[in-house]
């Protein structure tokens, strides 16, 4: 329901009858777009820019809708953000990952192949079905210092500290597999918790007139996280023998992820760029999955994308990207098209 409401808001906000002083006084495109976890930035990674068009004296808001299709995994992410006085950003994003039945069928098949010789065939036949992993992300960002756009006389970037609290709603339930019955994909793959909090530091710099008179934006983000696949596969690691309940290994530590973006304004309203984001790879070399013949089923690679964004007005922007998420369970190369639209108020 929220998803359709947001689509409607985003599309309608592009139309003319809106207040004259909205969405705010910032220069076009200087609020960034919205990354798939709800923070203002690029597509994959948050930037130090505060979202929306509100300047130091104003409040601005944005709403976004993103679709990322990598065949067996289709991610729909939507939400909104409020920028307060170009200093604080509050955001909410709801993520819905559709997992194709082939992934569940692959999991079921691996379970049957591994366990039948040990404990016999499963009791009930289970028809693999596609499933959904949903997650809520609550974001808070605080600009610490710097002026990304206007401080053209120094290399000092704009720096912001951010927090993303994530709650996975389908951690230990949502799908049915042989032998184990109702399970959640994250727990099945060895994740420990259904929620976690990321902490990140972003530094953003815009250079006007470079290269060759254009505009270049550079961003670097450092993130401390316990999330697996952005939280969609849970948080932390806890591997338990599903048959005996014995704890095999555990990892509750924060890991550091590095993210980077580069964007180039070809014209006042067309921006091209690329991003990358490393992942913690916490669930690789998993012993229980190893018994099923795929210890690195949930291995994580560095994700990256190439994008083109169109910002025709302050009210509306659209971003098209090619994204490669690397390995996802049963889909070693998870790449596909990404489309995101954003409205500002």
């Amino acid at each position: 329901m929220l998803r359709y409401l947001l689509i409607a808001i985003v599309l309608l906000a592009g139309s003319p009858p809106v207040q004259a002083d909205r969405p705010g006084s910032k220069l076009l495109a200087t609020g960034g777009v919205t990354q798939f976890e709800g923070a203002a930035g690029g597509g994959l990674t948050p930037w130090a820019l505060i979202g929306g068009y509100g300047t130091r004296e104003e409040i601005g808001a944005t709403a976004f809708f993103t679709l990322l299709d990598t065949d067996d995994y289709v991610l729909d992410s939507h939400g909104f953000a409020v920028g307060l006085y170009d200093r604080v950003e509050l955001s909410y994003a709801r993520q819905d990952l559709d997992v194709d039945r082939s992934v569940i069928a692959g999991t079921a098949g691996a379970l049957v192949r591994a366990l039948t010789p040990l404990i016999g065939p499963p009791q009930n036949a289970v028809t693999p079905r596609s499933t959904s992993i949903r997650q809520d992300v609550y974001g808070f960002k605080l600009k610490l210092f710097g002026d990304a756009v206007y401080a053209q006389d120094t290399w000092l970037p704009q720096v912001a500290l951010g927090v993303q609290h994530k709650r996975n709603r389908d951690f230990d339930a949502g799908t049915v597999v042989p032998y184990l019955g109702e399970v959640g994909v994250p727990a099945l793959l060895g994740a420990k918790d259904d929620s976690g909090t990321d902490l990140y530091l972003s530094a953003t710099k815009v250079i006007l007139g470079v290269p060759a008179g254009r505009i270049l934006l550079l961003n670097g983000t450092l993130r401390a996280t316990r999330a697996n696949a952005y939280g969609l596969l849970g948080f932390g690691r806890r591997v338990v023998n599903p048959l005996t309940g014995q704890l095999l290994d555990e990892d509750d530590d924060y890991a550091l992820e590095v993210e980077g973006s580069a964007a180039l304004f070809l014209s006042p309203s067309v921006v091209i760029g690329g991003e990358f984001r490393t992942q913690s790879d916490r669930l690789s070399n998993q012993p229980v999955l190893g018994l099923l013949g795929a210890p690195d089923l949930a291995e994580e690679d560095t994700a990256w994308d190439l994008f083109i964004a169109w910002v025709p007005s302050k009210r509306f922007s659209a971003t098209l990207a090619y994204v490669d998420l690397g390995n996802l369970p049963f889909q070693p190369k998870s790449d596909g098209w990404y489309l995101s639209v954003q409205s500002a108020f």
């Binding site: 910032k26 206007y150 250079i207 007139g209 254009r214 014209s267 006042p268």
Partner: protein, 188 residues
Amino acid sequence: MNTEAPSILLRALLGSIIAAALLLSLSVARAVDPTAIEQAMADVDGVAPTRPGDNAKNYDTTIYERLRREDRTLYAQLGGRKTIERFVGLGVDYSVADPRIAHFFADTNLPLLKVLLVEQICQLAGGPCVYEGRSMAEAHAGMGVGENHFIALVEAFQRAMRETGVPFEQENKVLALLAPMKPAVVQP
């Protein structure tokens, strides 16, 4: 009676010679480089002496200026004074017409403002000008300029540059030269 007339004449002549000498000495004094005097004054009250054109900007250089490898100055690329006069004229007009910032220009001598802005941009862009107006901080002190107002003026000038045919590549360089003035213009 005859002796008085020549003495009056003599006094008048002496007077005019002295007056002329005084005037001459004054004009010579003006042409003399005042730096030494200013330096002496500075040593006394600690106020840094300003040279002509120092008020044009409140910063040293922009990133793009440090990185560039261009043969021609931005002034030459823009097409010289004429282009600057065109977009400054239009930029000020758009600013005055913008309801968000119109009130700042209520008592402004607009033709003078345009001349000063042209001198400033000409100098910053490497042209043969010397900006002799006040510094940005002085000129905007106490006006209550917000970040939103500053950006409104930037938008007016972007629009003016686009309408006068300044290419995107040159527009961004002009913006790079004006952007760092923000902390001096916007009230803290």
